[in-house]
């Protein structure tokens, strides 16, 4: 069973704007897929649907076999918490928490015990190479370190699916390359990765590229 399957998925907002039109594709386990297209083509909307923060207006999206549009809020929340990790555009770190606390949030939400949370957080901090920044606030670290922290938070609970919205968008080319290398390594470890990006270099590092235009999948 493929972790991500979309079938004619579409999204029309209450304002009448059609953001996505009948998109169908599937992503296999350990596969790293880039979602490309110009601004406003529907990349972020597709990522929001895959991340279960929204549900399609038409068609279906299946995450680990669960049809998202048939789930209630509680089940969608559980799915997000257990099976999905999200790297947001602009990092979206919580500004009042330290880097370690930011990374620990998914574990705390899942009800892990404090000692286990600390052990696991330190492991992940070391894995993404920002152990030294653990006690700093997001405003006190560089953009590359913030993106690593965002990735660490997305993978700390070992989700089956990792979604990344413009993971290299705010970074210089050297740091961007390091981040792509980190994501590649995660995919090799079996994680399914979908990445929305403008960056052709990032797209080239993926197994496959989906191209959107005006909400429709063209390649």
């Amino acid at each position: 069973m493929r972790p991500v399957v979309t079938q004619a998925a579409g999204k029309t907002y209450a304002s009448g704007v059609v953001a996505l039109r009948g998109v169908s594709f599937a992503i296999g386990a350990g596969e790293m897929v880039a979602i490309c297209g110009p601004s406003g083509c529907g990349k972020s909307t597709l990522l929001a649907l895959l991340g279960c923060v929204d549900v399609p207006s038409t068609g279906t999206i299946s995450i680990d076999g669960a049809i998202t549009s048939r789930l209630n809020d509680r089940a969608l929340t559980r799915l997000r918490r257990q099976r999905i990790g999200t790297v947001f555009q602009s990092f979206n770190l919580l500004q009042t928490l330290t880097i370690a606390e930011n990374i620990a949030v998914p574990l705390v939400l899942a009800g892990w015990k404090l000692a286990a949370v600390e052990r696991r957080t330190i492991d992940v901090l070391e894995r993404v190479g920002i152990r030294e920044q653990a006690d700093r606030l997001p405003s006190q670290i560089s953009g590359g370190q913030a993106q690593r922290a965002a990735i660490a938070r997305a993978i700390v609970h070992e989700p089956a699916i990792l979604l990344a919205d413009e993971p290299t968008g705010n970074l210089d080319s050297k740091t961007g390359a390091e981040i792509l290398s980190l994501l590649r390594e995660l995919a090799r470890g079996g994680q399914t990765i979908a990445m929305a990006t403008h960056d052709m270099r990032a797209a080239d590092s993926c197994d496959r590229t989906l191209v959107l235009r005006d909400g429709a999948l063209i390649a």
């Binding site: 991340g51 923060v53 509680r74 919580l94 500004q95 928490l97 620990a104 705390v108 939400l109």
Partner: protein
């Protein structure tokens, strides 16, 4: 832990908002604590100091002449009698440049000093120790008012029954105390008996009795009382000041409830702003897997924390405020407040803050993660809710009007709550409408004014909470001002009508003022006019009610008629409002009164205001009284002095004219002054509380504007790029603040008037049976409105300064 840290670190991140919220709760809890403590102290003080007043003495044993004191023993041992207090009363002439006749009261200082409560809270001094006061009393000393002697240890030269003696002052009674006017002198009973030649006899025995036994005792006592005396049930004869206190206790409780509501709104406001400001964080948390319940609980915990700290500060401040409130009511504060009461006030504050946090917590929890991550999500949904709230508000106002029409205290309470909540619900719609109105009238050339008007309409829900809290604070001040002004003007009108006399002459029960004596009083050079009255108690439907017989013909009755007209026929009477409420009778109805001619039906021709007697008063014309009960002597006379006459001199002349008859003289100026002082004191205390409530609400305006500017930062920067000058930005924020002030003042004044009407006519009238005439102090209200609008403008200064500092280059950078 991390989850809590995420929310609690907001305290530091938004210190102004957090402090305003905590201050709002602290204020409300302080008001609540102060009022509850003052009320508790008032109840205790009245319970202590009233043994010489009628309102807690259940029964009095009185006779037409002094009676053998040995009779007290068999009465004191009756079941149900808590204490039997021997009293003797007479008169003294105090010598000096202006001789003065005063009332002398002898009390058993061993059993109980009727004025001992006054000394417990006195400052340390030569006679602050009750034991020393008592010793001085045993030695023949007296306790006098501050007017008669400045300090204990001094002496007065007096003339008693012809003998001239020097009396040492054992203690000085503080001014303005209930139960004794400044012309009363207290002695130990043995000294008084010696002084007035009344060895072995008493003028009166006051019985403090178990409430449940009172009626049975009245029935059982007649064969036991000394010869020539009778037992009179006096429990219903409550003093005007005591009844007034009940009314104010009730209204002050309502005031505390409104203060709590203001605080609740500010907590809800802070919570709603917090939700908006933390929308991205909530979105991130929801996207990371936070459940709605977890978000809800976090916001609730935040409210509870605000509540815990705010209520703690509030209880501490409330204990201090209680002193102010109690002084305003003329009572002593208990130096050791009941800890349970303080814990209760703290708990109410915490629960209130939690309840107020429910609404923002629900908004936060119900925000879907996708919408929460968009910057326009919250306000868009709030705008749509404004219409729903408007409808709910309209329904609640209608419900309030319906409840008020029931003229029942409980329904009146519901009416007040419905009107307050209904008005709050209507505020977003009113803000929306005001935005359009301001847009129409704004200067066409002033972009700042038009932008400000438009901004009000963009965020009606959030601006609405700030406006609502301001409006309720103003309504609190306005309604208190109207209620107090109405009480004061009505009470003074009543006092001026009923206490037109300068001096009231009365005689002990069982005696009377003869026509000859009344003639002598009228003949005095300083006396302009004398009206006599006969007051007795008559049985009516199982109670003893007061029956006043006086001249009703000349329109000089001193009655303040509420409905009907002064009777012109022999079968007609006037009854008091309390009588109507107590016995459920109405104008034109006939009631049967037991008279010397047997039961006689009498028609209620008029209803009069009376704020003194709790059971009710029947008033009839002297001729009717003579027809029904035969020839009877008057029991009191109201003396009006000639212009410029000295009341102290006239008192002395009156006493001389009375000769051996032990008359009692009361100067009404002191009673009138005490009414004015009582209302002024309450007004100062209430105005102080209202002022603090408005100040806190103004801080709420600052925090709201500040938060909105933080949110609109990009928009303001863009306006700067498009050419809006720094002065324009500043003006725009100040226009917004001013508009908030104007809308808040308009809603607050309207709501205040409605609340005052409900308190006066839907709650107090059915509760106390009083008609209080509406008196709107326009000057005070205009001053409040002007001050609030000015304060709202001042509240906009800091946010305007912050907005004006936003730089054009930041707009370019963020783009």
């Amino acid at each position: 832990m991390i989850f809590d840290a995420l929310f609690f670190r907001q305290f530091r991140r938004n210190a102004l908002l957090s402090l305003v919220t905590i201050a709002a709760i602290a204020l409300a809890v302080a008001v609540l604590t102060a009022i509850e403590l003052a009320n508790a102290s008032a109840a205790r003080a009245f319970a202590d100091a009233d043994s010489h007043l009628h309102d807690r003495i259940g029964i009095q044993i009185v006779g037409s002449a002094p009676f053998d004191e040995r009779g007290i023993a068999r009465i004191a041992t009756q079941p149900g009698v808590v204490a039997a207090l021997p009293i003797t009363e007479d008169q003294l002439l105090i010598e000096g440049p202006e001789p003065e006749i005063v009332r002398a009261v002898g009390v058993d200082s061993l059993a109980r000093l009727p004025i001992d409560a006054e000394f417990r809270n006195e400052r340390p001094g030569p006679f602050s120790d009750g034991g020393r006061v008592q010793s001085a009393l045993f030695a023949g000393g007296a306790i006098v008012s501050a007017r008669l002697a400045a300090h204990a240890g001094a002496s007065l030269l007096v003339r008693a029954r012809g003998a001239r003696i020097r009396v040492q002052i054992a203690g000085v009674l503080p001014a303005g105390r209930a139960g004794a006017d400044s012309s009363t002198v207290f002695f130990d009973i043995a000294s008084a008996q010696r002084l007035f030649g009344k060895r072995g006899v008493l003028d009166r025995i006051d019985l403090i009795v178990d409430a449940g036994e009172r009626r049975a005792l009245v029935a059982r006592l007649p064969p036991l009382v000394p010869r020539g005396t009778q037992a009179i049930d006096t429990v219903d004869q409550r003093a005007a000041v005591g009844t007034l206190r009940d009314a104010f206790t009730h209204d002050l409780d309502a005031l505390a409830a409104v203060a709590l509501l203001v605080a609740a709104l500010l907590v809800a406001n802070a919570g709603a702003i917090g939700v908006v400001q933390r929308r991205p964080e909530i979105g991130i948390l929801r996207a990371l897997g936070a459940e709605r319940g977890q978000i809800f609980r976090a916001f609730l915990a935040e409210g509870m924390t605000f509540g815990a700290f705010g209520a703690l500060f509030g209880v501490i401040a409330g204990v201090a405020l209680a002193g102010l409130a109690a002084r305003a009511l003329g009572i002593a504060v208990d130096p050791s407040p009941d800890p349970l009461l303080l814990i209760l006030c703290w708990t109410i504050g915490v629960v209130l803050a939690m309840l107020a946090a429910v609404y923002p917590a629900l908004i936060a929890a119900r925000t879907p993660p996708a919408i929460a991550m968009r910057s326009t999500g919250f306000e868009g949904s709030s705008s749509s809710r404004a219409k729903v709230f408007g409808t709910i508000g309209g329904v609640l106002l209608l419900a309030g009007a319906t409840f008020a029409a029931f003229s029942n205290p409980t329904a009146g309470g519901f009416a007040a709550i419905a009107v307050i909540i209904g008005s709050v619900c209507l505020v977003p719609s009113i803000v929306d409408g005001s935005s359009r109105a301001f847009g129409q009238v704004a200067d066409r050339r002033s972009a700042a004014a038009r932008l400000a008007a438009a901004n009000l309409g963009v965020t009606p829900a959030r601006i609405g909470v700030a406006v609502a809290s301001l409006a309720i604070a103003i309504a609190l001040g306005a309604s208190v001002a109207i209620v107090i002004a109405s009480f004061q003007s009505t009470m003074l009108a009543w006092a001026n009508a009923t206490l037109r006399a300068d001096i009231v002459v009365s005689v002990p029960p069982g005696t009377g003022l003869s026509s000859a004596l009344l003639g002598r009083l009228r003949a005095l050079r300083e006396v302009a006019h004398v009206d006599s009255k006969r007051t007795t108690n008559v049985p009516f439907r199982g109670s003893l009610v007061r029956l006043d017989a006086q001249n009703l013909e000349r329109g000089a009755s001193g009655l303040r008629i509420v409905s009907g007209g002064i009777p012109s026929d022999r079968e007609a009477i006037v009854v008091s409002e309390r009588f109507v409420a107590q016995f459920h009778v109405g104008l034109g109805e006939r009631i049967s009164l037991v008279t010397s001619r047997g039961p006689v039906p009498l028609r209620i021709a008029a209803i009069a205001a009376d704020y003194e007697n709790a059971i009710g008063v029947i008033t009839l014309d002297t001729k009717t009284d003579r027809f029904l009960f035969g020839e009877r002597e008057a029991t009191s006379a109201s003396v009006v002095m000639r212009s410029g006459a000295n009341p102290i001199v006239v008192r002395t002349q009156l006493a001389h004219a009375a000769g051996e008859l032990p008359i009692r003289l009361e100067t009404t100026a002191e009673l009138r002054a005490s009414i004015v002082a009582l209302f002024n004191g309450v007004f100062v205390a209430a105005a102080g509380l209202g002022f603090v409530a408005i100040a806190i609400a103004i801080l709420g305006v600052t925090s709201t504007l500040y938060a909105l500017i933080a949110e609109r930062r990009t928009e303001i920067e863009l306006l700067r790029v498009l050419g809006l000058r720094v002065r324009g930005v500043r003006s725009m924020v100040l226009y917004e603040a001013g508009m908030i002030g104007i809308v808040g003042a308009a809603i607050g004044m309207t709501l205040g008037l409605c609340l005052a009407l409900i308190v006066l006519f839907a709650i107090d009238r059915p509760l106390f049976g009083w008609t209080i005439g509406l008196h709107v102090p326009l000057g005070t209200l205009a001053a409040i409105a002007g001050a609030v609008i000015a304060a709202a403008l001042a509240a906009g200064l800091y946010p305007a300064h912050v907005a004006a500092r936003l730089l054009v280059r930041d707009a370019v950078r963020s783009e």
